[in-house]
């Protein structure tokens, strides 16, 4: 990681700081002010997009810890989101548990599901783990549909509007604030988790499993920890998503989403918290673009053009990034920053 010219780190605390320059603090403060005032002049549609984006960022952070840092590929992330979402939905709708208590319960349930489906990862890796997590997705969704008495099965489950204390989160603005607070906390937590002992163990496992084990990193413990943390993130995202619509349905967690989250990680850059945010935001924006262009194209070419455009653009963007920029937007961003901070004297490889 390159340090900006003119930034001096004179103490350990300064060296470890995440925001290590005035400029970065400035950007953070500006961003928070933007988030605070943004609902005042944004339409409902933009608020919805931003809220969904925040939820996606949370989910991708979880996948980033699991896949980007620990190297355990999971294509069942939407399934784990469904576990978290449905747990909190059932707690709220059937048992009358308040929203603030149901959210962590959902997260915990997703984490436990992650532990269960993470068990095969101790024996298998690569393609086999991918197949196991794909299987996990379909088994989870099937189970939810089978438990018709509790979850409403294919009909879905409608929930009361979430309330925290005396604040009703019924308006889009309030929910937007909630999601953004959770997203910022989740980002900070994700950034810090990978700097802890566990985080370094994850990276060691990703880079060389055998070497890590020989060095005394317990594969059994840390792989399951990675699954647990990653799926807790998914659970939080899942329950936020379900409560946003006040309706739980398995259609909110399609298999393609699981794939798409991994795509976001690839586009953003694996193994980087910033990359996860870049990827989630960039691909959600692409989604919105497709939603806007789609109807025009449908009218001009054929009625099914909109649906196919979404699929084709998603697939192509992943392939293009894999071939031409495998390290993702995050890497490109670092290059641009380095270019400007060293200009005009630098030479870049």
């Amino acid at each position: 990681m390159s340090l900006r010219t003119g930034t001096f780190q004179e103490s350990y605390a300064k060296d470890m700081a995440i925001f290590n320059s005035r400029l970065k603090w400035g950007i953070v403060v500006a961003f928070i002010i933007y988030l605070l005032v943004c609902p005042l002049f944004s339409s409902d549609r933009i608020l919805t997009i931003l809220t969904i984006m925040g939820i996606t960022v949370i989910s991708v952070h979880g996948l980033n810890i699991l896949t980007g840092y620990c190297g355990q590929i999971s294509i069942g992330h939407a399934g784990f989101m469904a576990v978290g979402g449905y747990t909190s939905a059932v707690l709220c709708a059937k048992l009358g548990v308040p929203f603030w208590a149901a959210l962590p319960c959902g997260a915990l349930a997703a984490g436990i599901a992650g532990l269960i489906f993470g068990l095969p990862s101790l024996k298998i890796k690569g393609f086999y783990l991918i197949m196991a997590t794909i299987a996990a997705h379909f088994i989870i969704i099937w189970t939810i549909i089978q438990l018709r008495g509790i979850t409403g099965g294919p009909d879905g489950l409608s929930l009361p509007r979430p309330v925290i204390g005396s604040i009703a989160l019924s308006s889009k603005t309030n929910y937007f604030y909630l999601v953004m607070i959770v997203t910022c906390l989740a980002t900070l937590l994700a950034k810090n988790i990978v700097r802890t002992r566990a985080g370094r163990a994850f990276i060691a496992i990703r880079d060389n499993e055998l070497a890590a084990e020989v060095m005394g990193v317990s594969l059994w413990s840390y792989k399951l920890q990675a699954f647990f943390i990653g799926c807790v993130y998914a659970g939080v995202a899942g329950s936020l998503l379900i409560h946003y619509f006040s309706f739980a349905s398995t259609d909110q967690f399609p298999f393609m989403d699981s794939v798409w989250y991994l795509g976001m990680l690839i586009v953003g850059g694996m193994g980087s918290t910033t990359g996860a945010i870049f990827g989630a935001v960039a691909l959600k924006l692409l989604d919105e673009l497709v939603t806007m262009v789609g109807p025009v194209l449908s009218a001009a070419v054929a009625p099914q053009a909109a649906a196919s455009l979404a699929l084709i653009s998603q697939g192509s963007i992943i392939i293009i990034f894999l071939i031409f920029e495998p390290r993702g937007l995050h890497h490109r961003w670092e290059m641009i920053k380095a270019y400007f901070s060293l200009w005009p004297f630098s030479h870049q490889e």
């Binding site: 299987a135 379909f138 099937w142 549909i145 089978q146 099914q304 053009a305 392939i319």
Partner: protein, 295 residues
């Protein structure tokens, strides 16, 4: 008993088609160590290609299949050249993600060209009726069984007696040795993708001829993965046997257990249950090589 035998026979025919599709997967894996998640979408494209050449073009059955195979060859060449060749030597995850993205693109193309609609063309495939005792074998299943067996036999002969087959087996054995004796590995990769496309398309036509072409055909690919894992990823014989086992098990389980479950639909999730169990208890499958890692 008749019910049970009926289920077994239907399962056998279905399982042979699964095995055929799974073989496409195994061939690519053996030759180029690429896990092709898009195999199910080759089946999807195949189902729709069968419809296109038989119904709107109105071709007779054999020219239609010939045209579909020709399209499959072009498709295989394009996929290998445009997507897989640039990713040679990249990590496993990148290649798998590329094939997943490929499956998305193929799904999108199918939506664009055929409108993701249900297209039926049964009755156009030749029919043979056979009844043994009280069990009647549906003619579509019988056709599927025969075509699958013929295809597998052709592939076996190809591997055994042709030069390219020998090159493919050699590449599966040891890439470096193959390159050092002057065999072009990229040609082998291209051929393996072409074969995978062809068997996928043939499987698609067979399945499409039974139940019509629709977007669900892509899910057959997921069943093929269960077959591959059960049989052991690097074993063609294992894939065939596992295909038959899984086809029978699926039919029997669905036939007996579905009435007991409120929502039914066990057939859809069954392959995944098999997959998880195999992965936990026997990751190398029934006939796969046990990976021994030297350090």
């Amino acid at each position: 008993m008749t019910f049970f035998l009926q289920l077994i026979v239907t399962g056998l025919a279905q399982g042979m088609v699964y095995a055929l599709i799974a073989i496409g997967f195994v061939i690519i894996l053996k030759c180029s160590e690429v896990f092709n998640i898009a195999q199910g979408h080759f089946v999807l494209i195949g189902g729709y290609l069968g419809y296109t050449f038989l119904v709107p073009f109105g071709l007779p059955i054999w020219p239609a299949i010939g045209m579909a195979i020709a399209t499959a060859i072009i498709m295989g060449l394009l996929i290998e050249r445009l997507i897989l060749r640039p990713l040679l030597g990249e990590p496993v995850l990148a290649v798998i993600m590329a094939t997943i993205a490929l499956s998305t693109i193929l799904g999108g193309l199918a939506t664009l060209l055929w409108g993701a609609e249900y297209k039926a063309y049964h009755g156009l495939l030749p029919t043979i009726n056979l009844t043994i005792g009280e069990i009647s074998i549906p003619s579509e299943s019988l056709i599927g069984l025969i075509v699958s067996i013929v295809c597998v036999a052709i592939l076996m002969l190809l591997f055994r007696y042709t030069k390219i087959g020998l090159a493919m087996r050699a590449t599966a054995e040891d890439l470096q040795v193959v390159q050092s004796v002057g065999i072009r590995a990229t040609t082998v990769y291209a051929v393996s993708w072409i074969i995978a496309c062809i068997v996928g398309v043939i499987g698609g036509i067979l399945l499409g001829g039974v139940s019509g072409a629709n977007m669900d055909l892509a899910n057959i690919g997921l069943k093929a993965f269960a077959v591959v894992l059960l049989g052991g990823v690097d074993s063609i014989g294992g894939a065939i046997l596992a295909g038959i086992i899984l086809g029978m098990l699926e039919n029997v389980a669905a036939g007996y257990l579905d009435p007991l479950l409120p929502g039914g639909g066990l057939a859809q999730v069954f392959p995944f249950l098999v997959m998880i169990i195999v992965l936990i208890f026997r990751p190398h499958g029934l006939f796969g090589l046990v990976g021994i890692k030297r350090i």
